[in-house]
Structures are given as structure tokens and as C-alpha cells.
């Protein structure tokens, strides 16, 4: 599964995207975020405060209980600040 990072999540984690092999038990957005935290201290720090970690699945905003499936396009980013 490919994960995209934007804004300060990208700069803190250090890469704009990465491809991960998800364990079968990771079935929701919330579980994915928790699992990503275990990948490195940088991930852990960047993802520490879930209130400012927003998630899109297939380019739609979704809550943490949203299911994820192989082939989904997943992106993590801070609250948006455009306009």
C-alpha cells in the first residue's frame, strides 16, 4: 500500500510517500496510523497527536474508523490551510 504525506507530516517523516506491506490485522485508518508510528522515531513523533493528523482514502476525507483495503490510495496530512 502506498502512503502519501503532506506539509509538515512530509517534512517530519522525511519522505513524500512510502510503500508499506500492511499486516493483515490493520483494517482501519486508525489502526494504520498506530501501525505507522512503529516504523521509526520520526514516524512516532510526526503522528503523535492524532487531532492534527487527517487522513484521506482515495482522495476523500475519512474518519479514523474508516476501513482500508489493499489498493486504496491513502494520504496523511495536517488540517488544511489553503484559500
Amino acid at each position: 500500500m502506498k502512503i502519501f504525506y503532506f506539509a509538515w507530516l512530509r517534512t517530519k517523516i522525511g519522505v513524500p510517500s512510502e510503500t508499506v506491506d500492511l499486516p493483515a490485522e490493520v483494517k482501519t485508518v486508525g489502526a494504520l496510523v498506530d501501525w505507522l508510528k512503529t516504523r521509526s522515531p520520526k514516524h512516532a513523533e510526526a503522528l503523535a497527536n492524532s487531532k492534527v493528523v487527517k487522513v484521506a482514502v482515495n482522495q476523500e476525507h475519512v474518519p479514523y474508523d474508516h476501513p482500508i483495503e489493499p489498493g486504496d490510495e491513502v494520504a496523511l496530512f495536517p488540517p488544511v490551510t489553503g484559500g
Binding site: Q59, E60, V80, G82
Partner: protein, 150 residues
Amino acid sequence: MAIRVQAEDFDVGAEYAALTRGRSSIGGVTLFSGLVRDMAGGAAVSAMTLEHYPGMTEKQLEAIEAEARRRWPLDDVLIIHRYGRLEPGDQIVLVATASAHRDAAFDSCRFLIDWLKTKAPFWKLEATPDGERWVEAKDSDDSAAARWDP
């Protein structure tokens, strides 16, 4: 009419002319443009870089436009949002709505910019004398968007 996400600047006069040209059903056009200020949160801003999520941005803006057209009788809608490096005084965003009725034009234009600020995946990086900093989301933007909740 159009959603455009682009690095290039836009010409408000030309966009307004295109929106109204040859039409006599429009009673009012409301237009909002957002510009880069030289000050933010008490600090001088020398430049701003807008990052976005290509693909999702267009999708969200199209959804926002469709919602506006569902809520108000609109002759036309235009949203242009720039990305990349901008300087103070540069234009960031343009939202324009045309309707037979002034209230519909005003309400829909404000709805679009309020929603865009909380839904469209853009992030601002400001360059200040203390270095670069990511702009934090404002609670006031969330409450502005919440006004439009059904």
C-alpha cells in the same frame, strides 16, 4: 464553469468578463480573491509556498462546486486556486459566482471560500525572519465552515 488548480497567476478582469459575457440572465456576480499578506501572526512574511495534493484538490473543489449549485440557483461558478511559491501581494485564490439573485451570489461565494478553507487539501508554508513555518489551521475557519452545515 470551471475549477482550476494552477501555479500561474490569474487575471480577475478576464475571468469576470468571461463569466458575464453575452449573458442577460445574471443579476449579480460576487467575487472573492485572496492575496498573500506581508504580515501574519505578527511576523513579516517574505514569501509563501502552497503545497497541495494533486488529484484530491480538484476532486474536493468539484464536490464543493456541486454542493453550491445544489443549494443555490447559480448561472455560473468559477474557482481558481494557485500552488507553488508566492510573494506578498500575489493572488492565491479566486471564487466567483453568478446568479439572477444577489443573495444567492453572495451566500454561495462565501460558502465556497469557507468550505474550501476547511476541505481543499492545500497547506501554506510561510517564510519569515525566524525561518520557515507551516501555517496552523484556524478555529475561526472551522466555525466559518460550520455555519453552512445542513
